[in-house]
Symmetry: C2
Subunit: 235 residues, 2 copies
DNA sequence: CCAGAACAGCCCCCTAGGTACCACTTCTAA
DNA sequence: TTAGAAGTGGTACCTAGGGGGCTGTTCTGG
């Protein structure tokens, strides 16, 4: 991509705001962007690990879920929801081992892509990047540990309440990152099924914690949600 | 520790065999070892994240489980079992954020320790280490993703069978890393409770997949275990 | 503007797996 | 050596939550 591109400045700005690239100089980011191309993924488009392995992606806008699935039962478990400023796949960047993960766009997705090999070269030119990557990975690992243990340590209701709390914008009290998701997707996020989520949403409505309109959850009472998430709620 | 130490050579050898340090020169490892001290943890001794945060540990012998727990219900979920050549805590090495994880020795544990700050200095002197760390982290992240999704995607029986298969020594057909563990600990590894494990062990005995003596499981029939782990077993 | 898809809200049923209790075995200290 | 404690394993009972289905409503694309 050349600086003549209409969206060039917007892309550059997005790169600068990314936690993954936050310590990089504008000059190095310009160099990076010059090697990238844009791609638009339609909502619900779907890739597996192999397709993604040889290209490094940077999300400009939209949301992407990273999940594993059991083809026999059809069940899915979402591990991450990535959005603006996130990158994938970090693991393919570190080594070339495959892993059976799937990616699916939750909205229309705008990504910048660059061949994996070129990305590796770019990183080696800027040793400061190693630290940034380690930091980014550390953050992801913490999240993963929580996902890994949540299912066994907490009930589905507690997990749902915790999910809502985790994704509330402190000022507006509105959901972010997981807003406008159908019950299906919420179920995947807490490792259960749609019907259970639906059932619990009714419970939360009943005790005044939330109100609901189609694909939209509004948090009404933080205290109640908190007490549920901390497991000292007697319904 | 000085080279005069009786166990010095043994420790050096262990360091060389570690996947974490495998690309380091003998010279650099000698420098590292000189700054380390030995410590012995008795079986079942117990540390939390805060105690471990400021010191970097390297396991010489013995096993250590890394787990999260829910104090209310008393349930635990083991995320990793570390042993010879493994190190902890890698996350505290990357940044100084706390994470609520616990460590507990499964056997008598022999560790080499070094202040975290010194370890960071050592790493910065050997830039090749960055790559090794990234690789090591990548490996751990893959494992974590599996742990995270296993619970929702597979039944407890399938997870138990998979656990056994994952830990069988190819030649001797004996369990390693998870041998001599009580049902309690096995339960923690697959995210369930002791009684469920006990029940499934009875099933596996009944269909000839394993035989059992106190704290010891012997794998008798790999095919049966495999078909269970792949979910095409009709009990 | 309409047909079909996507989505949420119930149901009911039913079993995987968690709780609780008991029984046996091994260890420890007197 | 022996009583108790601690560690370990087996099992009967019960419930959280998964499966499937059916309805009404809203959204989407032709």
């Amino acid at each position: 991509m050349t600086p003549q591109n209409i969206d060039y400045q917007r892309y550059l700005q997005e790169l600068q705001q990314s936690p993954f690239l936050k310590d990089s100089s504008t000059k190095s980011l310009n160099r990076l962007l010059s090697q990238m191309t844009v791609e638009h993924w339609s909502a619900k488009s779907f890739k597996n690990s192999l397709e993604v392995a040889s290209t490094f992606h940077f999300i400009v806008s939209g949301r992407l879920k990273v999940f594993k699935s059991n083809p026999d039962s059809g069940r899915e478990h979402t591990v991450f929801v990535l959005s603006d400023g996130d990158v994938f796949d970090v693991l393919s960047l570190l080594d070339s081992e495959p892993h059976d993960v799937y990616w699916e766009a939750l909205d229309v997705l705008e990504v910048l892509k660059i061949p994996m090999a070129q990305m590796r070269l770019w990183i080696n030119e800027y040793p400061a990047m190693h630290k940034a990557i380690l930091y980014y990975l550390g953050d992801r690992m913490r999240q993963l540990m929580d996902v890994a243990t949540d299912v066994t340590l907490h009930s589905t209701l507690v997990r749902l309440a915790a999910l809502l709390l985790k994704n509330i914008n402190g000022e507006t009290n509105k959901l972010q990152l997981i807003n406008n998701l159908p019950n299906d997707e919420i179920a995947g996020l807490i490792g259960t099924t749609r019907s259970v989520v639906s059932r619990h949403i009714q419970e939360l409505k009943r005790c005044g914690a939330i109100s609901v309109s189609r694909k939209k959850i509004n948090v009404k009472n933080l205290e109640v949600l908190l007490s549920i998430a901390e497991e000292n709620y007697i319904p």
